[in-house]
Symmetry: D2
Subunit: 110 residues, 4 copies
């Protein structure tokens, strides 16, 4: 995979991750995460979010890149575990983007 294929990195990574469901936990960290179950996956997601927060507040942009990569990786694992596909989330983001300007905030509020 080339870094220049940037628009596709998350989709490609998602396919690799989803392909590891049911794989040998001894050979793949991803397969091991799936085997440990959703509680472990969300716990890792939470950890990486906190590490991204810490990096952004005290460690500089290079560390933000690294922790964001960890966060996204674990988010993709969670999506695969929940039956969510990247295109579902892109569609949701695109839908919201269609709501412009003044209504932006309202549409975000729950």
């Amino acid at each position: 995979m080339m870094a220049s294929d940037n628009g596709k990195v998350l989709e490609e990574l998602f396919e690799i991750i989803a392909g590891r469901k049911g794989g040998d936990p001894e050979k793949s960290y991803t397969a091991k995460l799936f085997a440990r179950g959703r509680n472990k996956i969300v716990q890792k997601l939470g950890e990486e979010a906190v590490e991204t927060v810490v990096a952004a507040l005290t460690e500089g942009s290079e560390r933000v890149v690294s922790e964001s990569a960890d966060l996204l990786y674990h988010l993709l694992v969670l999506w695969a575990d929940c039956g969510v596909k990247p295109v579902d989330v892109w569609a949701e983001l695109a839908r919201r983007q269609g709501i412009s300007g003044i209504d932006e905030k309202k549409s975000r509020k729950k």
Copy 2:
């Protein structure tokens, strides 16, 4: 923006977000977030991560999609605030993906 342009949604959204830095906080939620500063941005990132965890454990995949969209939106705001570009993170993910199989876990460990 079409949902079918899926590989590009995050980049396009990032450009819109980055373009709101310094904008009128009265007119845009994004501009307001930038104006409130990084502490507020990371706080929102943390909140959305927790909401994604809660959705995944108790609320079903539709809510996971919605909360993931919130999480990604706030992550992009943080990147813009920290001078990180999406391509930086895609490159980091691609670099890791090049490290395959048996070394996967080691490369993730800090």
Copy 3:
């Protein structure tokens, strides 16, 4: 309640909180939290934990005190919602404290 009764503040606050279960959500923030349910309670706990992290990294000890108070308040609400009593947690902490020195780390590892 006097601040000097310090060992008892959490127990007393817990009794007040537990007494608001089923109360009027219009009159008490605590009653409102119980009415909104456990998902909302844990979400607030997560938010306050992130705010404590942010305070400790960037805002000074006075803000750590304030955010810690928020965190503890929401933790007590969660305990009341889960049927956990403060004494249960004190007993667990005391039990661990009995395991001294060299075994400390091992006993914490899951």
Copy 4:
């Protein structure tokens, strides 16, 4: 320490924790945490908060007790690292408790 001295468990634990600052990281998990620094301490606080959330949503009250003990332990380590004393937080909680009923919510809002 007896579990029956419940009002004092946190203060006593805090004293033990504070006494390990500067101790040998090889012999004490607490000393090791202090040696690794505040970023590590807040990261652990965030992790334990997420684990408490997960326990409350899916694992039952016994696990909530255990994760709450972990969360409180790491909160006390953070207080010691920030120069905050338990009595400071008890005083803040007591002060808020003095504000009763109808003003409760307002006083919590930032």
